[in-house]
């Protein structure tokens, strides 16, 4: 692996990943979906206690039904990875719905899968605006499992990319980073 940050493929994937909201209709090969969802299993998890469970959906009618009850889904993906939480397992370890680490774990699994999708030229975007009640029913989830996030996947519709106008001044990492400690003055570009 290249150690030059400017040539490292993983860092390049992180920098170039964008959310995809509109997709072409071609299905994603199952082997690709398997490779993507596997990276969710390898994400970090607090105490290595894995409460995340994944439901992969490729049936068009199920995806359409979920999309209708998910205001956060714009286009029509060709696959979904629904990240769920096993609350029975979490509860057995003293973790309840007020415990934030469950949601951190969901986010880390999502990030792994979003990057994996990008690395495999699959468009992807995370969605949390959906009816949990409806999605639970459509996916036949048991009562002790709830959907936390939906990853929408598909081949990007490149005719609909970059519809938004870019901000006058893009946010840089330097704008949101302090070295050693926070300061009320402008963030430093360099360590003190």
């Amino acid at each position: 692996m290249a150690t030059d940050p400017r040539r490292n493929k993983i860092l390049e994937a992180i920098r170039s990943r964008r959310v995809t909201r509109f997709f072409e209709g071609d299905p994603i090969d199952r082997s690709i979906l398997q490779a993507i969802v596997e990276t969710g299993r390898w994400s970090p998890a607090a105490g290595n206690r894995r409460f995340s469970r994944f439901v992969v959906v490729t049936t068009p009618r199920t995806i359409e039904a979920i999309q209708m009850l998910a205001p956060g889904i714009d286009g029509l993906p060709t696959a979904l990875i629904v990240i769920c939480v096993d609350w029975e397992l979490a509860g057995s370890m003293g973790v309840d719905t007020n415990h934030p680490t469950v949601y951190y774990d969901t986010a880390m699994a999502a990030q792994n899968m979003l990057l994996a999708a990008h690395a495999l030229d699959i468009g992807a975007g995370p969605v949390t605006s959906f009816s949990k009640a409806a999605v639970s029913l459509l996916l036949n989830l048991p009562e002790w499992m709830s959907p936390a996030m939906i990853l929408c996947l598909g081949h990007p519709d490149r005719s609909k990319i970059s519809r938004k106008t870019k901000p006058a001044r893009p946010l840089r990492w330097q704008d949101i980073t302090w070295w050693e400690r926070y300061s009320a003055s402008e963030p430093d570009d360099e360590p003190a």
Binding site: M68, L69, P71, S129, F130, A133, A134, T165, P167
Partner: protein
């Protein structure tokens, strides 16, 4: 073209899910969802009404998504756009009343 059952189902599902989600989502999502729903209704019904109203609704169906990206960056201009839409409907209603429709 008659309104399809699928269109109605999509709209009702969108509104119900949005109502539930507002319990935990940022307050301004309400405006975003209502405008999106308004655009859908306009698109669904523009050819079901009088030609004059249909033109207004067709314009709204196009203009609402066009203005959506400016909602956060230019909030006052976005509100002014919504006010313009409301005024246009008010004018149509006033003229309809004057014509005895």
């Amino acid at each position: 073209m008659p309104i399809s059952e699928k269109s109605i189902l999509e709209l009702v599902a969108f509104l119900l899910a949005s109502a539930r989600l507002l319990e935990t989502e940022p307050r301004d999502y309400g405006q975003m969802r209502l405008m999106a729903a308004a655009a859908r209704v306009c698109d669904m019904t523009a050819d079901q009404v009088t030609p004059e109203l249909g033109q207004i609704l067709a314009r709204f169906a196009d203009a609402i998504p066009e203005h959506q990206p400016h909602r956060l960056r230019e909030p006052e201009a976005y509100l002014a756009f919504i006010d313009d839409c409301c005024r246009e409907l008010a004018r149509y209603l006033q003229e309809s009343a004057n014509n005895g429709d």
